[in-house]
Amino acid sequence: MVWKIFLFLLLAFVSVAGISFPIVENPQTWYQFPLIPGLEENAKIIFFHVPTAWLTVIGFLISTIYSIKYLRKKNLDDDTKSYVAAQLGLIFCILATVTGAVWAKFAWGSYWSWDPRQTSIFALMLIYGAWFALRSSIESEEKKAALSAVYSILAFVTVPFFVFIMPRIMDGLHPGSADDKFTPSGGPVVNFKMNSNMLLIFFLSLIAFTILFYWMWNIGYRSLLIKEKLNKKIIRG
């Protein structure tokens, strides 16, 4: 219970701070953010958009870890955990895509422009979509679990290409891509222009969203496991 209250306070603080703290050219007090050239007020999206994109990958990672676990132990509970993680990952994937597109309209002038990171979040969405399509096409529980586990691992090994390699070798509009004129060499925007309070709130936001994800995942798979147990009881009479 304590950690739920803590999570509530953390998320409340992050939301308030992320939205209301002013961006000024020379930060004087602790609640002022520095001005990042090329981003200005638009920079505030980092507190909400980046965590959703982060959770998309985390959801996929957890799904793959439980897929590996399933293939080793053949325990259907692991498949349920993997399924719920992928469901949540898809939700956050859509959130990241939509928030990113809305932001891009104001920062770059159009909702979609096939920036490498837009391509990669789109590819992740395709992977999730294909994964659910594969699951829905198989009737038998064990077969479904085994094949979707294999596909999830196979898809996961391509994720580093989308998340780490593509944005760095292809030209793009995202802050920190290969030809970003405000940064000497490509890389995440975090390293160089955010001051310490901005970094602190960014990482607090990441932590808060990760805990939120864990909570949602926990409730999700527990309710599914109970549902399965009840179904079995009804069948046995």
Binding site: A123, A130, I153, L154, V157, T158, I169
Partner: protein, 219 residues
């Protein structure tokens, strides 16, 4: 020698019906003519032709390569194969067959393509050939392992491109980039990073496929 025996068996049964080869050849012609009809007399920008080449290659691969495993399921010979050979042997044999099919198919596509599109001029042949070679290996490996998944799942035809596209996307994106580089005449050294990414993709896919094939095959 066992993988080679499996390959020979596939080769002979393919020659008997010529199903995959005929349908692939027709698919290539259909796809190319659709593109040609839609272009008409318009002038096509150069880098668009490089991208369209990979569109034709991707969809041709999707139309023919799932045969390797689906045909075994159709004929009901999967159990027999499981009895007489190890999973890795089966995968090797099927991969060999698909590799040769992919190379044949893509050579035909590229030759036809460069004959039909005047704007498709390769200025750096070595870069294009190495892209072609590495991309074909990646395409064959990824499509073989996904064909194995598909053959065990219920819906076979429509699911194959859906499952393959996200897996093949890094390969296709890098190949399109490298093809446009070789059309611009970029030197090999400048494109080395992208070539390396392609090599990494091939190695990762090959390793993952060998590790995962056991779980698909023995259910």
């Amino acid at each position: 020698m066992k993988p080679f025996a499996l390959f020979k068996k596939d080769y002979h049964s393919e020659l008997r019906t010529r199903y995959a080869i005929n349908s692939l050849a027709m698919f290539i012609i259909v796809a190319l003519s659709v593109i040609l009809f839609s272009i008409g007399n318009e002038k096509v920008p150069q880098n668009l032709t490089g991208g369209l080449l990979w569109v034709v290659i991707f969809f041709s691969a999707m139309s023919g390569l799932s045969r390797a495993f689906v045909s075994e399921e159709d004929r009901g010979t999967t159990l027999l194969l499981q009895l007489i050979a190890k999973p890795s042997t089966i995968f090797n044999g099927k991969l060999l067959f698909n590799l040769i099919l992919v190379f044949l198919m893509n050579i035909v596509i590229t030759l036809l393509y460069s004959a039909l599109f005047e704007e498709f001029i390769i200025r750096n042949i070595i870069l294009f050939l190495s892209t072609f070679f590495l991309a074909n290996i990646g395409l064959a490996v990824a499509s073989t392992i996904i064909a194995a998944i598909i053959s065990k799942a219920g819906a076979k035809g429509t699911l194959y491109p859906v499952l393959s596209f996200p897996i093949l996307l890094p390969l296709i994106l890098i190949s399109v980039m490298l093809t446009s580089y070789s059309m611009l005449g970029t030197s090999f050294d400048q494109a080395l990073v992208e070539i390396m990414v392609l090599v990494c993709y091939d190695i990762i896919m090959l390793t993952a496929s060998y590790m995962l094939f056991d779980f698909i095959w023995k259910d």
